[in-house]
């Protein structure tokens, strides 16, 4: 069952170029059906999960590839499978203007499977395996346009990701050698008997592994790939570089911190301070770069960098509440960012405009898209009543509760970042809706909102943003039970 949800996307993806579809809509229906079915299957699996581990294969020694559904997997798998059908729907419309559709959908669907693999992995090795695989299946997507820019971007993406994985690998080794098992167990698996006297080395390796996985999560010195990867088609940027790929990085870090090394081992050590400082710096850095950036998607990408570090900030607080904060932001940010990316994509698709200064006055011609963009912008800023506020509240609350002085500074960083978020998001909104006195409306006269395939996901996402904003209780409760290990 677990394997099937990973395999179905693989099979579907491979079938896309193989089956000779006569009409485009047939392909669309086929893909969408498969994806939706798979999502339903995933949700069914999550809701009716058993605690048993499914062993797929022995790798070497006591290392094996196995899958299991636990709280964290439920969060991530649920999130991914909820977003994917919408993203696919959106992609159909978006890709009408792009080439080599089949290759695109092949890898796009493969990525679904791989991401689920990361989510459902039962041990560190399996996760690492899918993590590397994720890099590989997403590279063709980044390269898709095959322009020089795209090639440079994907090259950079590969360097960074593989390089990061190399260091994450060291963490894996530590867990294999010093842990009692590589399975994920909340609270960590390190064996105190083995680690005695080696604490500092382990901490050093933890920091390395953190930064290694952090490459995917675009932690500061290693974030350069993400804005560049924005050359990919928007469905990719939106879903992968705002959700699936980068969140896998964050997810992996959470797994590493909470489920492998264990917070008891890490809390209060220099390692925690080190990673927390890095994360805090990234929060501010990402935002500042976003303010400076004039390319719409790249600006959003920088915003993603900053927001990912919110998640990591929650994770490195290393308390259950911190984990709750991280998970909340993991999920909510996904919805907000995918929504804003889709808006950006819709604008690009409809108008071909890529730069922020080209968006003047579009608000009157694409009110739906930009209205939704405004909502997601406000949510990202953290206006109360929208999803972003809840997650920030949880994060900051956890930081304040932790009593860690550096975490207090982290709250300040969050707020500075919120201010910068306001700057870079609202300037867009203001431009779109208040183009200025001498704006010539004729330049936008033949622009209109996109069709339903693009709008439907947008509407759904904005509804979710508001819903999470005003009524997040059940979700947060669920996260709480994940963080305390009840689920």
């Amino acid at each position: 069952m677990i394997v099937s949800v990973i395999l179905i996307p693989f099979i579907t993806g491979i079938l896309v170029p193989v089956i000779p579809f006569r009409k485009r809509w047939q392909k669309e229906v086929f893909l969408e059906t498969a994806v939706v079915l798979n999502s339903i299957l995933v949700w069914f699996l999550l809701l009716h999960h058993s605690d048993s581990t499914f062993l797929l294969a022995h790798f070497t020694g006591n290392l094996n590839i196995s899958f299991r559904v636990d709280g964290m997997s439920m969060v991530f798998a649920g999130l991914v499978s909820a977003l994917w059908p919408f993203a696919t729907l959106y992609a159909f419309e978006y890709m009408t203007k792009e080439e080599h559709e089949n290759v695109f959908f092949l890898f796009y669907t493969l990525t679904y499977g791989v991401t689920l693999g990361i989510a459902l992995a039962a041990n560190l090795l399996t996760m690492y395996f899918f993590y590397e695989l994720l890099t590989l299946v997403t590279v063709p997507l980044v390269m898709h346009t095959l322009t020089r820019e795209a090639v440079l971007a994907s090259r950079k993406y590969l360097y960074y990701s593989l390089g990061g994985a190399a260091f994450a690998f060291l963490g894996l080794i530590m867990v294999i050698v010093y842990g009692s098992t590589t399975d994920f167990i909340l609270g960590g698996v390190l064996d105190p008997a083995k680690t005695a006297g080696k604490t500092n080395v382990l901490l050093l390796i933890y920091v390395m592994a953190f930064l290694g996985f952090g490459v995917k999560a675009a932690v500061c010195p290693f974030n350069a790939w993400l804005p560049q990867a924005g050359v990919a088609p928007t469905p990719v940027t939106a879903l992968l570089h705002a959700v699936a790929v980068v969140k896998s990085g964050a997810f992996a870090i959470i797994r590493l911190t909470y489920y492998s090394f264990g917070t008891d081992f890490l809390k209060g050590t220099w390692a925690q301070y080190a990673v927390m400082s890095v994360v805090m710096f990234t929060i501010v850095y990402g935002c500042s770069r976003a303010v400076k950036e004039t390319h719409l998607k790249r600006r959003l990408a920088y915003s993603t960098i900053s927001n990912l570090s919110y998640i990591l900030f929650g994770a490195v607080i290393m308390t259950p509440l911190g984990l709750v904060g991280a998970l909340t932001h993991l999920v909510f940010h996904a919805v907000m960012k995918i929504s804003s990316f889709f808006c950006a994509g819709a604008v690009m698709h409809q108008t071909g405009r890529h730069y922020v200064h080209e968006l003047n006055g579009l608000g009157y011609k694409m009110p739906r898209v930009l209205g939704i963009f405004t909502i997601s912008a406000l949510a990202l800023m953290g206006v109360p009543g929208l999803a972003g506020f809840v997650s920030k509240w949880n994060l900051a609350g956890a930081a304040a509760e932790s009593g860690n002085p550096l975490a207090f500074g982290g709250i300040a960083c969050l707020l500075v970042s919120a201010l910068l978020t306001a700057i870079y998001m609202l300037t867009i909104v203001v431009r779109a809706f208040f183009p200025g006195k001498d704006f010539d409306y004729r330049t936008v006269s033949d622009i209109r909102d996109p069709n339903w395939k693009m709008l439907l996901p947008l509407f759904v996402f904005s509804i979710f943003i508001i819903l999470f904003g005003v009524y997040s209780q059940p979700v947060v409760d669920f996260f709480m039970s994940v963080a305390t290990g009840v689920v």
């Binding site: 020089r148 820019e149 303010v291 004039t294 730069y355 922020v356 200064h357 700057i423 300037t427």
Partner: protein, 319 residues
């Protein structure tokens, strides 16, 4: 003495900026947050190619040994360090040598049961009077098999390097005629006398390999020297009558095959503790010591041909 500043000067002062901020006239994002179009990324193939060329040019310069001062300096440094390295190595080895067992004494570890048995039982077990020959062709025959193949593979590489194809060969022939000695009367006369002697001596060494100093390699080398002398005196035309590449090929092939097969048989029987049908013969007689004599002959043939082949190759690139 103070004077009134001009407006421009004033605008640069701290006071002006402070006051501007105080009165709320400074806009922090004018010029900062304002969106300016960025330059679009242009793929630049030309530049890449140019870079590559420049790189090559630089490399050229680096490798230009005549004119590169740094390279000279580097060479100096390299030479000095090499000499120092050599001295260091000498010192190291001398120290090592000084700790080695003393030379010429019987008590050294070298003189153990191994050499003792070779000397004591060698005659009996191999049938060779020359214990060294017995050792290399019987006790440690695998080494020697390898060794002959070293020679073989060396000739192969020399062939690869220097053998010419048909057209080149003709040219080489012409230049060979022009530059090499030919029809030198003294040489020819002396060679007429010497060559048979040399070759017979070589054959003697080969045949007596198991009885006294000598063996296939040395004898073969002597024969080869005789052949080379013959070639020098009479030229390729004469030698080609009896020794061509084909001859060489087949001689080598048969000798080595024989060597291989014979030794295979010997090893096989030895390892499987089978009785070898090859008789040891009477020690001291020509026809004795089992396989050693035929092997010496085979090796001698190969070596003789190879020595000659080396010479021919070096001189002309063919036979």
């Amino acid at each position: 003495m103070s004077r009134k500043k001009t407006a421009e000067e004033y605008e640069k002062t701290f006071a002006f900026r402070f006051f501007r901020w105080l009165s709320g006239e400074k806009d922090p994002y004018i010029g900062n947050v304002e969106m300016q179009p960025q330059k679009k990324y242009e793929p630049d193939h030309e530049a890449a190619l140019r870079r590559e060329k420049e790189h090559d040019a630089i490399m050229d310069k680096v490798y230009d040994t005549g004119h590169n001062r740094w390279l000279h300096l580097f060479h100096r440094l390299y030479q000095t360090t090499s000499v120092l390295f050599c001295l260091f190595l000498i010192a190291l080895l001398l120290v090592t040598v000084s700790y080695l067992p003393a030379n010429g004494t019987v008590t050294r570890p070298v003189n153990n049961e191994v050499s003792a048995r070779y000397i004591e039982k060698g005659l009996e077990e191999t049938g060779a009077v020359n214990i060294v020959a017995g050792m290399i062709l019987d006790y440690r025959a695998f080494d020697t098999l390898g060794e002959s193949h070293v020679l073989f593979v060396a000739t192969i590489t020399v062939l690869i390097l220097l053998r010419l194809n048909k057209t080149e060969k003709d040219e080489a022939e012409v230049s060979d005629r022009r530059f090499e000695p030919k029809n030198d009367a003294i040489l020819q006369v002396v060679a007429t006398f010497l060559v048979p002697v040399i070759i017979i001596f070589g054959i003697y060494i080969i045949l007596n390999g198991h009885l006294g100093p000598g063996g296939g390699f040395s004898g073969g080398a002597v024969i080869g020297a005789g052949l080379v002398l013959y070639l020098n005196a009479f030229g390729f035309k004469k030698t080609e009558r009896f020794f061509t590449e084909k001859t060489y090929k087949w001689v080598c092939f048969f000798s080595l095959s024989f060597y291989c097969l014979a030794k295979s048989y010997s090893f096989y029987t030895g390892a499987n503790h089978l009785h070898s049908v090859i008789p040891k013969g009477t020690p001291g007689a020509i026809l004795s010591s089992g396989l050693i004599l035929p092997l010496n002959i085979a090796v001698g043939l190969v070596v003789a041909c190879t020595i000659y082949a080396f010479y021919a190759m070096f001189r002309k690139g063919g036979f």
